[in-house]
Symmetry: C2
């Protein structure tokens, strides 16, 4: 049994091409080959813990992920979010590996899913990438778009100039030409590939600024309360893609738009079906598409298995 530290995990990640693995995980999920029980939840006075677990039937491992958020940790000089993954053999139940990733693998698999969304749904010509938010996912999502789109012009929205400046300093070394804005409506006016990454509970992007030929990957909203996109955007979109239709009924942008009766469920397709060619994705550069990512345990299974095998 192997115990891997965050540093070892970082090194293992460097050599991995995760995008096809996450594509396969989504395709397997949408084909009904995944077993993903309901998420376990433990609420404490100072925080909350989620337990996500599952496997793909024809795979080697099953994975149990423990992820936590503790509100007062910042005051104690500790990260507020934390996590680890346990990798087990499907055949015997033996614990193969404890990945002490402190939540890093969740961040990465979420960013890779965004890249998968961009790869399959973005219009062919992207003149500008729009990033909503300046946090960890705002960084990782843009970084993971590098192999997926050739565009290097970026407009970033943030709540303050300091956050925007820091983001520009962090991301310019990757080869991006980045401008910032404090007006969220600029994003939809200027960008045709947009990634939203905030924990907002009020829409930041509105249908009034939406242009033909836009693709939006919505990453931030992963609870029943969070929402970054006005429901009218999903109503106007030609293609609305869920990472998991069953989960998006309960949380995220699609949940909000269904609640608002802005869309019907028959409008939805699942990302894994688009990847596998079982569902129609984008057919023209004029279409508007939205991919709503709420996070599915098969992503954890895919990245944890890959990292474990790469540890050697």
């Amino acid at each position: 049994m192997r115990v891997a530290t965050r540093e070892e995990i970082e090194r293992a990640l460097e050599g991995l091409d995760l995008l096809p693995m996450i594509e396969q995980a989504f395709a397997g999920y949408s084909a009904g080959r995944a077993v993903v029980p309901p998420v376990g939840e433990l609420l404490l006075e100072k925080g909350e813990v989620h337990i996500k677990y599952g496997y793909l039937r024809d795979d080697r491992y099953y994975v149990i992920k423990v992820a936590s958020g503790f509100y007062d940790n910042a005051e104690l000089g500790l990260p507020s979010s934390n996590g680890l993954m346990l990798v087990f053999e499907q055949r015997t139940g033996e614990l193969a590996c404890v990945l002490l990733d402190e939540g890093r693998l969740t961040d990465v698999r979420t960013a890779v899913a965004g890249a998968v969304g961009g790869k399959h749904l973005a219009p062919k010509r992207v003149e500008r990438i729009g990033i909503v938010g300046t946090g960890i996912q705002a960084h990782l999502q843009l970084e993971h778009l590098l192999p997926v789109v050739s565009c290097r012009d970026v407009l970033v929205w943030g709540r303050g100039q300091a956050q925007i400046d820091r983001y520009m300093a962090d991301m310019s070394p990757f080869g991006f030409r980045i401008e910032g804005t404090l007006r969220a409506e600029d994003i939809l006016s200027a960008c045709s590939l947009v990634v939203t990454t905030t924990p907002s509970q009020q829409p930041l992007l509105h249908v009034s600024s939406l242009q033909p030929g836009t693709h939006i990957t919505a990453v931030g909203a992963d609870t029943p309360e969070k929402q970054e996109l006005d429901a009218g955007i999903l109503a106007r979109a030609d293609i609305v893609v869920a990472d998991s239709i069953s989960q998006c009924r309960e949380r995220g942008e699609i949940h909000q738009a269904l609640q608002a009766k802005a869309i019907c469920e028959d409008k939805l397709v699942e990302l894994g079906d688009v990847i596998a060619g079982r569902a129609q994705g984008r057919t023209s550069d004029e279409q508007i598409s939205v991919v709503d990512l709420t996070g599915v345990a098969v992503q954890d299974v895919a990245i944890a298995s890959a990292v474990f095998e790469a540890l050697g």
Copy 2:
């Protein structure tokens, strides 16, 4: 963060007086101080995995336990059951310890719970202890009764003479005088403190052999299907104690007796309430009592926390 092997855990266990800790855990549970979400379950082709987790509100840690059973492992020379426990800080969510106990701590906390049941419910005078079964729990339950009762005369029932002989050889060195029987009805005729430890799905003990002044601790039945006691025993009993009333509704001997309408739920008291003096236990040596143990996550919390602190 500490990772403890089974050997280190064994050594830590040696110095621990677990009985009062498990008593406190039950008392806290019955007083409503425990948070124990529903058990997570993952079913695989070759086995099944259960995730139990929870905490006591005024305690320091929360614990997540992963326990598995894999049917074909014996053929591969591997143990069929396995497990580990994760100990986290309630205040920050930090992982304090990974206990690679391989299921050992579950076995021990189950045996200690049996001793707690015997301590609080057995009649004062026990002339003979009856053990039903010859497996791991049959061993551990008897061993853990040593500090609880002075009686050293034992009658053990097993499915075959070979199993009985092995059990006698294993347990005699603890100071017990042990006889064996292949007829389960001998147990209730001869013994006033009985522990049942098998995975039987058919009653092994019947009300027709039940004597006044008998206490039975029923450990084996922990699923909706398993049953070692004929429901008439619970109907005849003066005191029927559940480790968790809510859980015993769904599984174990009490579940079976409720299903058979042999008892009503208002007959039940909870072990933690008996321990804390909030519910009436045995008041005379002539009474018949049954304690039904299905296993509660607070036992895991108690033993994992104690072992972690004892690791030093």
